[in-house]
Symmetry: C2
Subunit: 188 residues, 2 copies
């Protein structure tokens, strides 16, 4: 899912799994590739961070400019989306993914065709807005183990809709290029 | 200018200006925005690096996937380009640039239209290949002071052609979005 903010400066965020944090991890499922060590809590912090517990992990990513969204799509997204952190959004998900070498060997037009013309990533996601809010973080150029970290939040009553959204995305052609994916569900 | 390698993993490079290095800096011109401190030598190193002299500077960037090149363009570039480091290439240039907030607020289709349909960045550059070899490094998401670092090398006899190439690029609509640019010429 694509973040649609116009970012004047890229902003680094750290997702820290460990023994403390604002969010309790209620489920952690490895969808593809190597799993991540299990953690009890997740903390979302602006800037760089280290895990406070030696068994924990930290994933970092940058909120940056969009790579695929075109003007009419951005206009629809901006008109429809909600911000993160609404009071009723007591459920959230962190979904780190990595895409295969075959994806990254594609040219821009080839990736765009898979992403939207054939997988309808933006169009499909739009129908779940504003129930689901999200922020995309780019990690690949930082030398991180994942290429993207997407952070979502939603009300408890919309958890089934969120499940449906991620289920539909996982059936797309785009997802055949995902070679590592962890689905981390949290509550506060 | 766009690097056309298919990168299976992003690769970090550091450009270190200081009192020693493989390349002598023969000219350092601020084209737009704030200058960089003058340095006598430039060293190009894979991976992270620090300047060995306190007055020096280090610029970092990642060779990453292409952001604008389409399939027919990549095929032409791959068929035409030469690698860096040919024996006769005793002249080189490091050109760090930053683009404005207005550029980064554009959507992908808007940036592509400026970059190629209106500024002919790829088409124009192709006519200087293989005389000029180059590698593009992405810096913006690393929190660096520049968005891109491009490293070029060429034979002494092609220095005038390189001057013509950068002169023509600076006259394009794309360059109206460049708000900081340093032109660093080196020899070995």
């Amino acid at each position: 899912m694509t973040d649609v903010r116009s970012v004047s400066q890229p902003t680094l965020f750290s997702f820290v799994g460990g023994e403390s944090g604002d969010w309790s991890i209620v489920a952690q499922t490895c969808q593809a590739g190597d799993p991540l060590p299990r953690a009890a809590f997740l903390d979302v912090r602006p800037g760089p961070a280290q895990p406070s517990h030696p068994a924990g992990w930290t994933l970092r990513g940058v909120v940056s400019n969009e790579r695929y969204v075109e003007r009419p799509e951005r206009d629809r997204l901006v008109a429809t989306q909600a911000p993160l952190g609404r009071a009723e959004c007591t459920r959230a998900a962190l979904i780190p993914i990595r895409k295969s070498a075959a994806w990254w060997a594609c040219t821009q037009d080839e990736r765009r065709a898979i992403f939207e013309e054939r997988s309808r990533h933006i169009a499909l996601s739009l129908s779940y807005l504003p129930r689901v809010a999200r922020r995309l973080h780019h990690s690949r150029d930082l030398g991180e183990p994942f290429d993207f970290l997407t952070w979502f939040d939603f009300a408890e009553k919309d958890a089934a809709a969120f499940d449906e959204l991620v289920g539909r995305l996982r059936e797309t052609e785009e997802w055949t290029y995902v070679d590592r994916e962890i689905d981390i569900r949290v509550a506060r």
